[in-house]
Symmetry: C2
Subunit: 231 residues, 2 copies
């Protein structure tokens, strides 16, 4: 009897234990359970520039806001937000500069040709949204006493600056492309006839809320220096 119970026990355990395999079947598609990059520890809330850098290196998508060329006009500008994936470097090398893989077929890239200054906004709430093994921080989770994406302890960050296209073949272009495909592997298979363009934001302003007491505004110099980089 004992061997039988042991067998049943092992089978049951195998069924309920989280799979340690790299790929699991969810719905119709195989999902890779791990993010490409290991999540670095979140800096202390007193370290504003480090927190901003941590968000830009750790998060995978945000909203790029432009001045709309489809709506509004010169005397009545209208903002247009649009979801964009990004990276700020490879897993191993954070640069602090967000890099984008897009096309002029998309509204935001088209808008940037007329008004080159854009903003890019990130929420700590997105940390757990696209890598299935990551858990949300309680600061952003609904249902807790202080948890909400709008709560100051759920960090939010907006970078503002000029939208700059990288020249194909330059060192920065090649590094950005490698980093983009590392974290956003599906992009490598996107159709070539869309004429993909790698662009970055040349950061001029950093606006961060990661705790009570209002926004912290950082200079690009403070932001880049936090991890030893020059602007």
């Amino acid at each position: 009897m004992a061997p039988f119970i042991t067998l049943v026990c092992l089978l049951l355990l195998a069924a309920v234990l989280p799979s340690s395999a790299k790929n699991v079947k969810k719905g119709k598609i195989d999902i890779r359970e791990e993010c490409p990059c290991k999540l670095a520890p979140r800096p202390d809330k007193a370290e504003k520039a480090l927190t901003a850098r941590w968000m830009v290196h750790s998060l995978d998508w945000g909203i790029l806001a432009t001045i709309s060329t489809r709506l509004g006009g010169d005397t009545s500008p209208v903002p247009f937000g649009n979801v964009y994936s990004f990276v700020d470097g490879t897993c191993e090398k954070s640069t602090g500069t967000p890099y984008f893989y897009g096309t002029y077929m998309d509204q935001s890239y088209a808008d940037s040709l007329i008004h080159e200054t854009v903003s890019f906004s990130l929420s700590e709430a997105s940390l757990s949204s696209v890598c299935t093994e990551r858990e949300a921080f309680t600061s952003c989770a609904l249902g807790t006493k202080y948890g909400d994406p709008e709560n100051p302890v759920c960090a939010r960050l907006t970078l503002t600056g000029k939208f700059v296209v990288l020249t194909e073949g330059t060192e920065e272009y090649n590094l950005a492309k490698e980093a983009i495909f590392e974290r956003h592997p599906s992009m490598e298979g996107w159709p070539e006839n869309h004429e993909w363009v790698i662009a970055k934001i040349d950061i001029e302003d950093v606006w961060l809320i990661d705790f009570f007491g209002g926004a912290s505004i950082l200079t690009p110099e403070e932001y880049f220096a936090a991890m030893g980089d020059e602007r």
Copy 2:
């Protein structure tokens, strides 16, 4: 021996099975594992207006973009994106109109006093970000062949319109407040001296990507009529 193995087996199972309790300890805080609202089935991708309505009713936060009053100027408008929680009604009643709970101490509300037209952008990727029991759709998850927040099959939506403050005590104000506290329970405890204001977007334009082939642009009439509402 058999009873002992059975006991060990049951103890092991109890340890690894997901808890069915409503509240679980994660980190330092109790988390309520369930979202207040049950997730409705995602409409077919051919149903553009219904998909937009489903996103606005199902998602919990997005990025509100304004014309910055802190940066830029009249001749060089600068967009400013900022994370905002929202609801479009109670769990039972979707109105299609996003309602916000904010304060003029925040940059976006202050910006809206000068330029009243704003945009509000949502990503389907955020579906699983703040309710811990919800799983991301594979369309948005990194590591799959087509999965990425920037991939067209991970739906993204931008609503544009005037930012309108609700008058306290009106029927619409009371309904919006009830709905906001239902889905964002921590807000009910936020400090009263911040003078919270409930505002909405009076939708003038609906921009949606939920599949290959470019953006779908809907009129407010199409958007509201999808669920039987008048504008």
